[in-house]
């Protein structure tokens, strides 16, 4: 299993009282799965995503990523984990505005300690995968929304991470561009990437092969996507 989650709980402290957000989740995700995690706001899906992405740690329970128990890692080890295993794709792209496209894509490799020459080569390859090699010198504000999200995807891909973790990746895009991005995800999935989508839109979730519904901090349902199964 790529991801194994056992009895995972997360509380937030508010003053003196602890507010439970995730009540105890068990979840396995295998390599090359394409999973959508859905749920209404307050269901704990953002919290789960933060924990899956090693941005936050659980209050109790265990999260194994590639057999490493993430819940025991310190801050530095979590950073290394994010660098190697997680490719984040955010709703609002989260590109650095002062860097151009290729510099943004190179960023994770800088923290991986890759040398400049190799960095550029790999960043170019990643940009090739998202079909954006003609825009490498452009700053984010010189790119369209769809192009920005492609740069962000290239940045997520550049370290060859275990998981692509996409948080509402089409939320800031018009529907046509959104569809293009979702097609790109399909392609990446076919190439062997493991993709986890966080979304509240059923339409987007339909692209995934497995849909997980969260409700009140628990898994409400976890089933294969029949529509998608039909397609493939």
């Amino acid at each position: 299993m790529l991801i194994e989650i056992k009895e995972l709980k997360k509380n937030y402290s508010l003053g003196s009282s602890e507010i439970p957000v995730i009540h105890g989740i068990n979840l396995n995700i295998a390599k090359n799965e394409y999973v959508a995690i859905m749920g209404p706001s307050g269901s704990g899906k953002s919290t789960l995503m933060n924990i899956l992405g090693c941005l936050d740690t659980a209050s109790s329970g265990h999260y194994y990523l590639n057999k490493v128990d993430v819940s025991t890692l310190d801050d530095d080890a979590l950073s290394v984990m994010r660098n190697r295993e997680i490719g984040f794709i955010f709703q609002n792209f989260n590109l650095l505005p002062r860097l151009n496209a290729i510099q943004n894509v190179e960023l994770p490799l800088i923290y991986a300690g890759t040398h400049a020459h190799e960095r550029r080569e790999r960043a170019l390859q990643a940009l090739e995968k998202v079909a954006l090699t003609d825009r490498i010198d452009h700053k984010p504000n010189e790119l369209s929304g769809g192009q920005r999200q492609r740069v962000a995807i290239a940045r997520a891909l550049v370290t060859n991470p275990g998981i692509l973790l996409a948080d509402e990746p089409t939320g800031a895009l018009d529907s046509k561009t959104g569809i293009e991005i979702m097609r790109l995800f399909d392609e990446l999935h076919r190439e062997g990437n493991t993709i986890i989508l966080i979304t509240h839109e059923q339409e987007i979730a339909n692209y995934a092969h497995r849909n997980i519904y969260l409700k009140d901090g628990l898994i409400h349902s976890d089933q294969p996507n029949r529509q998608k199964s039909k397609l493939s």
């Binding site: 933060n50 992405g53 941005l55 936050d56 801050d75 530095d76 950073s79 290394v80 994010r82 660098n83 190697r84 984040f88 955010f90 989260n94 590109l95 650095l96 002062r98 960023l107 994770p108 800088i110 923290y111 991986a112 300690g113 940045r155 370290t159």
Partner: protein, 412 residues
């Protein structure tokens, strides 16, 4: 993460906000510039003082007649003191331990004439040892020697100023000048001396370049004293073989003279080396004060950097979140921001060094304050600016590193 990346990032940060970076740097620029200027003023004053006392000879004790009014002089004479005399000099040479050389000098203010030119001058009767004891050098010809003194030869050595006035383009050596009713042959010209601008004890400030030196024997024999009460000689210069013995020797000299002058207070003893030490001590306090002012301005510069860096961290919370999300460790963020503040302070430091050097030169150019920039003071000022950058960049950088990635990535 490679350090080169941090430096590149920091420089990019500086050039992206040129005006802001410049304003932030101003504090450091003025701080470093003032440290350099203050130190150069202190060093200039020190060198000036050393030069001044070197002219008087650092191993010398100078015994000088007090300048007394005619009434006071009469009183002193009535109480049996004959004033300074060659006899005093002889006794000092015999009794005081460690005396290496001793020179007596008699002085008279009078006009020196050459052709139709006349210059008000101090004519000084001197023994040959004098030249070696003072920091004087002959520019042309030679100084008065034993033979001149023994044979009372009618020769003189001119100060550079008086020689220049008399002999424009002419060869001074061999010419005859007239002092009082005596014709003397010029045998040498002294090198130009800096003006003696400050009164040291009984040694009044005056222009040394208009002095004329003649053999003491000749002086005592041929020149009439200014009045009947005038002492035989006006100054005795004693060279001691060891600077540590100066105070002890001066005490002995004082005892001797007290007895010989029947406890009349008509002479004073000046020890240039002791004055130099004393002056240095006084100047030290002044230098510490100057240094403190400069240090405070550097400190204020540092606070300016901290202020801007704290604001920058706030402004760039999202950027920090993104960097953390893609794998930056705390130490990476930390070193990024420290490098940035050090880049500001180093750039400010370099500019500050230039401004400081320029300021020192300007001070010398437009005032009569001497300045001297020691290389080590540039080094000190520059290292201080780096230290300021590191120490005042530390707190903002720590704040940046301690931001929680999960919060900062969603910061709007």
């Amino acid at each position: 993460m490679q350090y080169g990346e941090n430096i590149r990032l920091a420089l990019k940060g500086l050039t992206d906000h040129k005006f802001r970076s410049f304003l932030t740097m101003l504090g450091i620029i003025f701080g470093v510039a003032s440290v350099i200027t203050m130190l150069s003023i202190g060093e200039g004053a020190k060198r000036e003082a050393i030069a001044k006392y070197q002219d008087l000879g650092v191993n010398n004790i100078i015994i000088r007649e007090k300048s007394l009014s005619d009434n006071e002089l009469e009183e002193v004479r009535a109480r049996f003191s004959q004033g300074l005399s060659l006899q005093d000099a002889g006794v000092i040479r015999e009794i005081v331990p460690g005396v290496e050389k001793i020179a007596s000098q008699a002085e008279k203010n009078t006009d020196v004439k050459y052709n139709d030119k006349s210059v008000k001058s101090t004519v000084i009767g001197i023994t040959p040892d004098f030249l070696g004891m003072m920091n004087y050098a002959v520019q042309q010809g030679y100084f008065i020697n034993e033979k001149h003194d023994n044979e009372r030869l009618k020769v003189c050595v001119l100060g550079a100023g008086i020689a220049a006035t008399f002999f424009k383009g002419e060869e001074p050596v061999g010419q005859m000048v007239k002092i009082d009713d005596q014709w003397l042959e010029v045998i040498g010209v002294l090198e130009s001396k800096s003006l003696f601008t400050e009164t040291v004890g009984e040694l009044a400030a005056r222009d040394l370049n208009t002095d004329v030196y003649v053999p003491l024997s000749l002086f005592l024999n041929r020149f009439t004293p200014e009045n009947i009460l005038t002492s035989q000689i006006q100054q005795i210069t004693v060279q001691i073989d060891n600077a540590d013995k100066l105070l002890e020797a001066s005490k002995i000299i004082d005892e001797i003279l007290k007895r010989h002058h029947f406890h009349n207070d008509d002479y004073s003893i000046v020890i240039p080396f002791e004055l130099l030490k004393q002056e240095e001590k006084e100047r030290q306090i002044y230098n510490i004060l100057l240094g403190a002012i400069a240090a405070i301005s550097l400190l204020v510069g540092g606070i300016g950097i901290m202020n801007i860096m704290l604001a920058t961290v706030m402004e760039r919370t999202r950027e920090i979140g993104i960097r953390r999300a893609v794998g930056a460790r705390k130490v990476d963020i930390m070193s990024q921001f420290v490098t940035e503040s050090v880049a500001i302070s180093i750039t400010g430091g370099i500019i500050g060094v230039f401004v400081g050097v320029l300021l020192s030169l300007t001070v010398t150019l437009f005032t009569d304050i001497t300045t001297f920039i020691k290389p080590y003071s540039v080094f000190i000022a520059f290292s201080f600016s780096v230290i300021v950058g590191v120490s005042f960049g530390y707190l903002p950088a720590k704040n940046a590193a301690n931001l929680k990635p999960v919060d900062s990535i969603r910061h709007e």
